[in-house]
Symmetry: C2
Subunit: 190 residues, 2 copies
Amino acid sequence: MDPKQLLKEHIAKTAKLSDNEHDDFFNYFTPKSYKKGEYIITAGDRVDCEYFVLSGCIKTFYINDNLKMFVLQFAMPACWASDYNALYNREKATIGVGCITDAEVLCLSNNAREEACKRIPQVEHFFRARMTGEYVASQKRLLSTMNNNVKYRYEELITLFPELYNMVPKRLIAAYMGVSRETLSRLHNP
Amino acid sequence: MDPKQLLKEHIAKTAKLSDNEHDDFFNYFTPKSYKKGEYIITAGDRVDCEYFVLSGCIKTFYINDNLKMFVLQFAMPACWASDYNALYNREKATIGVGCITDAEVLCLSNNAREEACKRIPQVEHFFRARMTGEYVASQKRLLSTMNNNVKYRYEELITLFPELYNMVPKRLIAAYMGVSRETLSRLHNP
DNA sequence: GAAAAAATGTGATCTACATCACACAATTTG
DNA sequence: CAAATTGTGTGATGTAGATCACATTTTTTC
């Protein structure tokens, strides 16, 4: 789909932008393309942008001291990704962002977002709604992690996002659920 | 501390309200008092308000089908608490809110917040910043849960919030970490 | 301040998942 | 298309934390 249209429909779910305002807002973004396997943010980087996914699939992840990876998010089209702690608090990245497939994104810098929020109240409203939604989703995931076993959570995930089953290697899905790839593999034949 | 002043200083960390604007905003709140053990929100309720804690300690929690409780948050003074999923999406509460000690709060209804956000841009800015912060914190907690063992997370929690050690029963701290009270108890003498 | 209720400690046993090890399959690369 | 790389399946074994059971301590209530 046309990038501008995808963004417009995404925003329309929570905020009301006039066509002029949307044109205005859209100009704050810059498009970029990445190849499968490329990294958009690597731990230690200065983080300047958040990324709105147009096509492909992107992961955000954390790697601990033992080099074990945890996936925070699989970002499909019309999702946003970045290291928000680093972005908002001007700290170095501890979260990485990488491409699971070839991907196109729209980049929005911290400064651009803040300026757009100041100039266009409905843009600030949109980002408030977005962050509220992310917070609620993150809490739900935390609860599900504490409450349900691996099998249940795996089926929950694949039911919610069937695309992931073929698009994403199982070891990354295991890393999303915080279990070893062996354990995930053993769910089929118990 | 004076409720108005506590709220003012809390907001000042992320938004700039003139004294007039703050007076205006403050009028949207209504104060309430609760006794230790009382519930502010019970699962199944219609949720109309979020709560800004003035004094005491409040928990937000989820109870699963086996009646096992998980604590999402210990809200101390200058923290906010509610079931945000229910509040924003006009659904019935699945998260409860209860008082660990006697507590005083300021209630802000959904309508009041939205009206204040519309009329006072810096109020909308404040809530955006707040939700961004909550999202980042929630992700950090998820990572810590997947990455660290109980002992580490317990010490992390008590280091960050030493008040909890004496104020909150250990079984609730266990419920916050998603482990049994027995396991928490065994951390002392391993 | 005695009785009841709630919270905590501690042993014994069970279990979901981790880790290690290696075979096999699929995908990428030159 | 052959070789190298990356991903997946599966057995054997180890372990953190759950669960059950009961004793002890602390707090609440009348």
